[in-house]
Assembly symmetry: C2
Homo-oligomer: 391 residues x 2
């Protein structure tokens, strides 16, 4: 294991200037208030660049190590992403896990590698921030969660939008019996296009790396959005919509599903790698509705809108309607990914300093999301039969 602490120094202030200098960031005194959680990163995935910045921006975390199968890649990554001078660089994932300085790991590896590396991380007493989809199925996820539980480490999936202050403001609206009423229907869409090369060769569409394809990637967000809107009440049955599109290797490029609950609530979603970037949640209640068009990644980092209407009526002669939707704009000092890291690190800090138990909310939500995805997959495999959601 080679550590390369000298080779990768770029001052943090330069990073911040380049990547978002206007954001409020942690000051040295904030960082001093409680010892920051020391992160290691497994692999040099593109998304790890965003998370490196987030760990740097969050006031209670710091990067201490990165490991890649290629030492050179790790060295370049650390240099290009302005890691602190003290950060160590390893030519393997084990190097990070064996480093006693590392308290928590962020794992952005392909899904098929999650089981091995998340379990190993937990066994080595590292807290686990795991990219989505968390596993290929609930069975795998349960092994990961058991490893985390028996080691007493925190588990959280890296679903960033959950941590944007907009999300809690939208939740407030949905919980208002006058303004929103009873939840009746949800529709969610997440899709993006990265071109023909992506559809053949990207990790996200390789059967041995991310076998769930668009369902595991964009579908994860849709499923989470629906469960979030339903306050994490699981649907009774899930039915995939005919017909998904697949690439030549048989990996899903687009699909959808309908979900139903016993009380009559319904939800639908569409997830895809073949339609222009769309990130919608539409939530319908008896008294109100809510729309958001950039739920996964806000169009702007510092302020994110959502749109609500309550008790809308057609006006005289059914010409027009009143009221029309209201825009709410929610500002944030830190980007949602840094807020996610801050929340994760705060839980880790509680475990470290006060002997708290890991927060079960996060693994529980991950498991429910995965359970719905499993049911969609099973419904696709069984010719679009309704599948009972088992939990």
């Amino acid at each position: 294991m080679l550590a390369e602490p000298e080779s990768n120094l770029i001052s943090r202030s330069l990073l911040l200037l380049k990547k978002g200098g206007k954001k409020k960031r942690s000051t040295d005194s904030e960082k001093m208030a409680e010892p920051p959680v020391r992160f290691g990163i497994l692999g040099c995935a593109k998304i790890a660049r965003k998370l490196s910045r987030a760990i740097t921006l969050a006031p209670n975390s710091t990067i201490v190590a990165i490991g890649s199968r290629s030492l050179e890649k790790a060295i370049s990554f650390a240099r290009e992403n302005g890691f602190p001078a003290s950060a160590k660089v390893y030519g393997s994932y084990d190097g990070v896990l064996d480093d006693p300085d590392v308290e928590a790991v962020y794992i952005p590896l392909p899904t098929s590698l999650h089981l091995r590396w998340a379990v190993l991380a937990a066994q080595k007493k590292k807290h686990v921030l795991l990219d989505k989809p968390v596993a290929l199925n609930v069975k795998e996820l349960d092994i990961i969660l058991e490893a985390c539980e028996s080691s007493g480490v925190q588990f959280m999936d890296a679903t960033m939008w959950m941590h944007h202050p907009r999300t809690s403001q939208m939740r407030e609206f949905l919980s208002d019996p006058q303004k929103f009423g009873q939840l009746k229907a949800v529709h969610s869409i997440f899709s993006y296009v990265e071109g023909p090369e992506f559809l053949k060769n990207d990790i996200r569409v390789k059967p041995d790396l991310d076998a769930l394809g668009a369902l595991g990637d964009t579908g994860w967000y849709c499923t989470r959005a629906i469960l979030w809107a339903a306050e994490y009440e699981l649907p009774k049955t899930v039915t995939a919509l005919p017909d998904p599109e697949f690439n030549e290797a048989g990996v899903i490029l687009s699909c959808g599903a309908s979900l139903r609950w016993e009380d009559g609530k319904v939800a639908t979603f569409y997830c895809s790698f073949i339609t222009n970037l769309t990130m919608d949640i539409t939530v319908l209640g008896t008294n109100g509705n809510l729309r958001v068009h950039d739920f996964v990644i806000p169009y702007q980092e510092s302020a994110a809108p959502f749109y609500v209407t309550s008790n809308s009526k057609f006006v005289e002669l059914a010409i027009g309607c009143d009221p029309s939707p209201n825009e709410h704009i929610v500002g944030t000092d830190l980007p949602q990914e840094a807020l996610m890291v801050r929340e994760f690190s705060s839980l880790v800090g509680g475990i470290k300093l006060n002997g708290s138990k890991p927060e079960k909310k996060w693994p529980n939500i991950s498991r429910k999301t995965q359970a719905v995805i499993d049911a969609v997959k099973a419904s696709i495999d069984k010719g679009f039969e309704p599948i009972e959601v088992v939990f």
Copy 2:
């Protein structure tokens, strides 16, 4: 048959002041350019008030008669809606159909009465503007369409939003191979709430009057929106979503469906009488997307927005996306219902003056919409099986 021409005079200008005086309206000279199409109205439905205003506003039409089973109701209706002094008022629908002055009828009766009265109207050589759903099923509709065809009269359903200039501007966007690309997915929602009394006793939820309930009313618009987006290519199969909600009489209060085409396109919709007013179409293409949030009835009468994005990409580090949606606002001098009447009257005028054949586009679109609704209903009745769309 009593005609009550004297009792109902309110000047048109007063009507226009009351109901939308700012709108541009037909001048007398425009009305003179070609003889206006002379409308009769069957029944005093609430929606007929809106259509009366539309016939008055359209430059090529005029109201000459109204009939109701209650003469008193017809008299009040004519008075309250500012009918011309010359308009005749009948205590029956037959009165209108037997009036040689009447060239065209607007029929806003409950759906179960469409077959009888639309056929009779056609037989009496009246052009037919028929409210939606046009019939209880395609079989009934075919009898109506055959009657219209053999009498050489124009048929059109009263789906007003089709005639808003916004609709053709949106169509232009969807037809642009660079900005929109290939159609991949559509989602549509139309719902409104009129309260518990409505859900028990309104015509729209009475099994003997509007047996299709929310599917025939709000679902009609969703289905039309999807077909419109697909350039009226019929889906191969339609599958209702489990489970609809029903009232005590077994009439649908909310339901949904998924539609699939052989080329991989998919669509979903949700229609309801139990969720807050929502009127959305979301159309996803390979290169762009389009959203509209008031497609059935624009929030404002004189200008209506839609939102499009093309070739959107996440920006550096997947922070934000570019471009964000653009708002397009489409102004109109006449409300969409008056544009509908103008289009219908223009076709009628062509038949009358130039001996043109009735335009087949409109009955054809009605029939396709009804065929999809029939398939949704069949799928519900058969436990949410996929139903092949027969046409």
